[in-house]
Structure formats: structure tokens, C-alpha cells
């Protein structure tokens, strides 16, 4: 397994290549572009046997993704921000048709004001559309989770699409050391794509029918149950990956850092977790009993695992890189509802919108806030 220094976007592309998607519809948008540019290079150099479709919009990218997957092949696409917003109409159509498409979202703020920089508003706003969302912290995790995500989504007890969320620029454009698995290893882990249903003149079926009020809810209930089932599958696939590749990320849903005897903890998603690790280490050196919870799976949401992970805490501070305007951080809402019956104190900080740096100073202030009886707020 060669270890290389690689930009996370290229690493993502290498991970995608190992999964052998056959059709890649794409439309450029910063900061996602390096991923599809790398894939285009691989295709045009004959290293990846796939068709790239140079669609005229993200709406069409998402639609072509649906068409290709429905025809019976593994697919991939990537987008960010406005692109994901333009795809929005098709997201629930893909999940409602139970198509296990995989897409990377290099997270970027939504306009206006227009900003090309990172926050989580794009993907978090789309979280209710029936896509599994796995959020990653590092280049290595981006590669590994991509490979896992195909296996999770395609599991016949799941059959849902998946978004691989990586922070725009703060991860997508960062060079890190990473191990790129060998093709044989991935082949042994991820079987060839076998569609559960497909468009086939030998066996004609109707996809995307109209459902009347007497059946619509059953469709949604089945999707929801598949999402809950995905909690197990994400864990199992993660464990299998860990066994075969020797790398693990908590239990696949949550990753806990120095939580053994922690009294206070931070919780967040994406690259801010890397900064938080350093803050936790420093506070530990100062004798503070603090820890860190990284959320990998925003949907499905690992409620039971979170209750378990926090049961000995006195306080939990949730960092949101997005705000539900007029209320609070959406991750905070999820966490507070999951922990409704526990008596931990919980607060929320909004941070890092539109690419604003999240510094050690910010996170130190946030992590000590509950102990020091301070309220949450904005880390400006």
C-alpha cells in the first residue's frame, strides 16, 4: 500500500477510481472541481473505464446520475453549494427510487452573499432528502469512507444514495499523507455492482410512478426504515473495512477522542474536529477532563450511540458550521433532541460560516463554556 502526499480532492478521485463507477455526470463548481478534473484525467488517460457526461447543469448531473444508476451501473458525481442547491429537486427522486448513487459534496457556503469558502449549509440543508450523509475529517478518511459508502448504499437491506461530505478548501484543497489501497484489496471488499432493479426490456418495470395518498406514506416509511437499518450497515461495513485495511474511525457512526473519564466534551463534524483534537490534548495537559465526539453519520443519526457516548458527561458543547436562521444550529437541535432524557447540560456555538477560520482559541473558549457557566453563541 503506497503512502503518498496528495491533495484530498485527488485522493477522493483515487478512492472513487478504486470503486470503478461506470458513469460520472459532472458540472464544475469550486471547490469540488479538483475531484472531477482528476477523474477526467484518469478516464482520458485510460486508467479508469468510465463515461464522463459533461452535462449543462447540476440539475442534469443529478438526473443523469439517476438515469445511469437506473440502467444498472455504479455511478459517481460531485458538487458544492449552489450546485447541490440546483440538484435539490432530484435528490429525493433518487432516494425515493432507491437508487444507491454516491456523490461527494465539497462543502461550501450558500449564496448570498456569494462565498466560495467552507461551511456546512449546503449539505445540512439537504439532510432530510433520504441520502445517507457521512462527514469526514481527513484525506485518509475521505478515501476510506468513499469505498465504504458504496458498499453501504448498495447493500440490499439499505438501497439508498449517499453523500460523502468533505470540507471545501480546508480539506478538499489540503495536501496530506495518505495511503491509497490496492485495487485487489478494494475488489475483495467491494463486490461488483449488482443492481436490485434496473431498466431492462427483458423484465419491464415502471420506476417513478404516481402514488396516491393511500400508498405514499408506506413508501416513506420504508425509506425511513432503510435509513435506520443503515445505522447497522454503516457500522458493519466500517468494522469489516477496519479488519481488512487496518484503519478505523470510531464505530463508523461516531468517533470518540479522549472520552474515557471526560466531564465536558465538544461535538462537531468535518475538519474542525482536527483542530479540536489539539485543543483537547492541551486542556488535558492542564488537567481538564475533556473529550471530543466526532459525528460521522449525520443521516442516519446515531441516537443510541450518542446517548451511550455522553452518559458520563456533565456538559456537551455542539459546534455548528451552519445555522437554521431564526432558530439554532441544526446539529445542536438533533443532539439536544437525542439527549432529551439525559440531564447533561448542552450548549451551541455557531462557527466557521463562509470560510471563517475556526481557531484553537475559539474551540477552547467553547469547550470550557459549560464548566465556566457561559452560554453558547457565535464564534466570530
Amino acid at each position: 500500500m503506497p503512502e503518498i502526499v496528495v491533495e484530498a480532492s485527488r485522493a477522493m478521485a483515487l478512492g472513487v477510481k478504486l470503486c470503478k463507477p461506470k458513469v460520472i455526470p459532472m458540472y464544475p463548481i469550486t471547490p469540488q472541481t479538483h475531484i472531477v478534473e482528476a477523474l477526467a484525467e484518469m478516464i482520458n488517460n485510460g486508467e479508469l473505464q468510465a463515461e464522463m457526461i459533461h452535462v449543462e447543469s447540476e440539475h442534469s448531473a443529478c438526473s443523469a446520475l439517476l438515469g445511469a444508476q437506473a440502467a444498472g451501473v455504479r455511478t459517481f458525481s460531485a458538487t458544492s453549494s449552489q450546485g447541490l442547491a440546483l440538484m435539490y429537486e432530484i435528490l429525493p427522486i433518487i432516494s425515493g427510487n432507491r437508487m444507491p448513487c454516491v456523490m461527494a459534496v465539497a462543502n461550501r457556503a450558500l449564496s448570498a452573499p456569494i462565498s466560495i469558502w467552507n461551511d456546512h449549509s449546503d449539505a445540512v440543508s439537504a439532510r432530510d432528502q433520504g441520502w445517507i450523509q457521512l462527514w469526514v475529517e481527513s484525506t485518509q478518511e475521505a478515501i476510506d469512507t468513499t469505498i465504504q459508502l458504496y458498499k453501504i448504499c448498495e447493500d440490499h437491506s439499505v438501497l439508498l444514495p449517499g453523500m460523502l461530505c468533505l470540507d471545501g478548501f480546508t480539506l478538499s484543497h489540503v495536501y496530506e499523507r495518505a495511503i491509497v489501497p490496492e485495487q485487489e484489496q478494494v475488489d475483495a471488499f467491494l463486490p461488483e455492482y449488482k443492481p436490485y432493479i434496473k431498466l431492462d426490456p427483458e423484465k419491464p418495470i415502471t420506476m417513478g410512478p404516481i402514488a396516491f395518498p393511500n400508498s405514499f406514506m408506506e413508501f416513506k416509511k420504508m425509506q425511513h426504515e432503510a435509513m435506520l437499518q443503515a445505522l447497522k450497515v454503516i457500522k458493519n461495513v466500517h468494522d469489516e473495512f477496519a479488519k481488512q485495511f487496518g484503519r478505523a474511525y470510531g464505530d463508523g457512526l461516531l468517533e470518540l477522542y479522549r472520552m474515557e473519564d471526560a466531564e465536558y466534551a465538544l461535538m462537531g463534524m468535518g475538519t474542525l474536529v482536527g483542530t479540536a483534537r489539539v485543543v483537547v490534548d492541551k486542556l488535558r495537559e492542564e488537567g481538564q477532563k475533556v473529550g471530543l465526539i466526532k459525528l460521522r453519520s449525520l443521516r442516519p443519526f446515531p441516537k443510541g450511540e450518542l446517548i451511550n457516548a455522553t452518559k458520563n458527561l456533565q456538559g456537551l458543547t455542539v459546534i455548528d458550521r451552519h445555522i437554521s436562521l431564526g432558530y439554532e444550529g441544526p446539529l445542536f437541535s438533533d443532539v439536544r433532541s437525542a439527549l432529551f432524557e439525559s440531564d447533561i447540560r448542552i450548549n451551541n456555538f455557531i462557527a466557521g460560516l463562509g470560510g471563517r477560520d475556526i481557531t484553537q482559541k475559539h474551540l477552547r473558549k467553547a469547550l470550557l463554556s459549560l464548566k465556566e457557566r457561559r452560554e453558547g453563541g457565535w464564534l466570530l
Binding site: 458513469v23 442534469s60 443523469a64 426490456p201 418495470i205
Partner: protein, 298 residues
């Protein structure tokens, strides 16, 4: 049944279209022409809604409906996927005039520019019928629709219909044709041709809508025929960029006969009918000229 056409039905009866629906007649014969080895992609609209009430379906072909404006993009994905699988099926893309002229135009333009191998068939009934007869880019001038009502000040739609077949032909599409549900053998052979010719082909089918046009349900074929005979709906094909009229109308009936047959035009004044006649005459002359001079669309 029209003699000479295959007996096998791929668009089954029992769907929920209105009696006399022109689009349903179109679907039935288009799928006959396409045959068994076909994947259908259909846009949201009347035909999708009436044909797929879960758990029933009128489709005896593999069928996918995604959204209103994205059939050409879904078809792009299907086409490339089949290519990687080494399979070759007809890809039949179906959309209404709203889906095609308006909301899905960008997706269609992009797919044609990319050169995917499919046949796109637009069922042109001249309005958004599924949502209750609203104006589209294909609605004829002065037609009453629910969003371009014939009012005391504004007499229905004020604009001429978008010349979509010419716009598609200018994309270098290898085959573009117009057809009508009143000329089934012609429609049948144009669909066949559009599927046989490699690359993105386009056929626009003129098909009356009973409630939308305000006609008797027994009269839809008759009204469609009047549109052909008055030159309102010229039938032609553009192959390799060269236009050929496929049904010459040497002695056209006055447009008035066509207009008077429909409630959506009942408010028209003499002047407005004259204006429409002059427009139709002008368009026919232009199409004739394109044919005679062998003008190239590309």
C-alpha cells in the same frame, strides 16, 4: 387498429386519460413503432400521471419517470450506462410541450449538443394540461388558457409559438420531424426513422387535448386533421439539416375552420383570425422556400 401496424400493444388500455385524448393515441402508436427493445423516459405531465397510478402501470416497456424538466438528462445517463454495459436499446424520451419548449429546454439542448443516441418525442398539445391548461411556449397566439385568459383587455396569449423544431435542427440534430395524430402511418414511420438514425433525434407530435382545447371527445382526430389541412401544423422532416415537406397541402382550408372548431379560440375577432391566416401563410411560404432552395440548417 390501423392496418399494417404491429398488433402488440406496449401502452396498455385502462390508463386514465380523458376519452378522446390525442396524447394517448400518440403514446399507443409511438410505442408500437418503438417495439419491445425500448426503454421509456417520461416527463411529469398528463401522460405520466394517467399511465402510472401505483400499483398499476400502462407501460409494457421498462419505464422511468424522474421529474418535469430532466428527461433528456436522465436519458443521457441511461445511454452512457448502456454503452458501458455493451447493450443497445431504443431510448424513447417523452415530454409534453411544457416539458420540452419551456422548463426542460436547457436539458434537451445540452443532451442534443452532446450527441446522445435517443429519440425525443414531444407531445404538443399547446399548454400545460396536467396542471389545468396553463399557457406554454407552444400555446398558439390568441388561445385562451387559464393563465392567458381571453379577457376584456387582453385577448388570450399574445405571442406566437416558439419554433422549436427549427431550433432543435440548428443544434445539428440528425433528424427532426413534425407529425400529427391524424396521420398515424406518417407518425409511425417518423418514429421508426428517429430511432434508427444514430444520434439525438426529435419528433414533435401535434395532439389535441379535449378539455384544453374545448372540443368534443369524438373530434380530436378530426381537429388534428384540420390543423394539417389548414397548414397550421405543417408536416415535414429535417434530415441531415435539409427540410422536406412530407405532406404537401396544395389547397389549404381557411384557418377559420380549425379555429372555429375549438372553444379556446371562440373569442377571436375577424381581424385576429386574419392575422393568424397571414402568419400561417407566411410560415408555409417560408417552409416551402427552405425546401425548394435546399437551405441547410447546419
Amino acid at each position: 387498429m390501423i392496418r399494417g401496424l404491429p398488433e402488440e400493444e406496449f401502452f396498455a388500455s385502462g390508463h386514465r386519460a380523458c376519452a378522446g385524448c390525442g396524447a394517448a393515441i400518440a403514446m399507443r402508436h409511438i410505442t408500437k413503432a418503438a417495439g419491445r427493445n425500448t426503454i421509456v423516459v417520461q416527463a411529469t405531465g398528463c401522460m405520466e400521471v394517467v399511465s402510472t397510478p401505483y400499483p398499476e402501470t400502462a407501460w409494457r416497456l421498462p419505464y422511468i419517470h424522474g421529474a418535469f424538466e430532466n428527461t433528456a438528462a436522465i436519458a443521457s445517463g441511461i445511454e452512457r450506462a448502456l454503452k458501458t454495459l455493451g447493450k443497445k436499446y431504443n431510448i424513447l424520451v417523452l415530454g409534453g410541450d411544457g416539458a420540452t419548449f419551456d422548463i426542460g429546454f436547457g436539458a434537451l439542448s445540452g443532451a442534443i449538443e452532446r450527441g446522445h443516441n435517443f429519440l425525443y418525442v414531444c407531445n404538443d398539445n399547446g399548454a400545460y394540461m396536467n396542471t389545468g391548461i396553463q399557457r406554454s411556449g407552444a400555446t398558439p397566439k390568441y388561445a385562451h388558457t387559464t393563465t392567458s385568459p381571453a379577457g376584456r383587455v387582453i385577448p388570450g396569449k399574445l405571442e406566437w409559438k416558439k419554433p422549436l423544431p427549427f431550433i432543435i435542427a440548428s443544434h445539428r440534430a440528425p433528424y427532426v420531424a413534425t407529425a400529427s395524430i391524424s396521420e398515424i402511418p406518417d407518425l409511425y414511420s417518423k418514429i421508426k426513422k428517429g430511432l434508427e438514425i444514430e444520434g439525438p433525434c426529435y419528433v414533435q407530435v401535434f395532439s389535441p387535448c379535449v378539455p384544453g382545447w374545448g372540443i368534443d371527445s369524438a373530434k380530436s382526430v378530426e381537429v388534428a386533421r384540420l390543423a394539417v389541412e389548414t397548414r397550421i401544423c405543417p408536416l415535414y422532416e429535417i434530415e441531415g439539416g435539409i427540410l422536406k415537406i412530407t405532406k404537401d397541402i396544395k389547397e389549404p382550408k381557411p384557418v377559420e375552420e380549425y379555429l372555429k372548431a375549438q372553444a379556446r379560440f371562440k373569442h377571436l375577432s375577424e381581424t385576429q383570425i386574419k392575422e393568424i391566416q397571414a402568419f400561417v401563410d407566411g410560415e408555409w411560404t417560408r417552409i416551402k422556400e427552405l425546401e425548394e432552395k435546399k437551405c441547410r440548417f447546419y
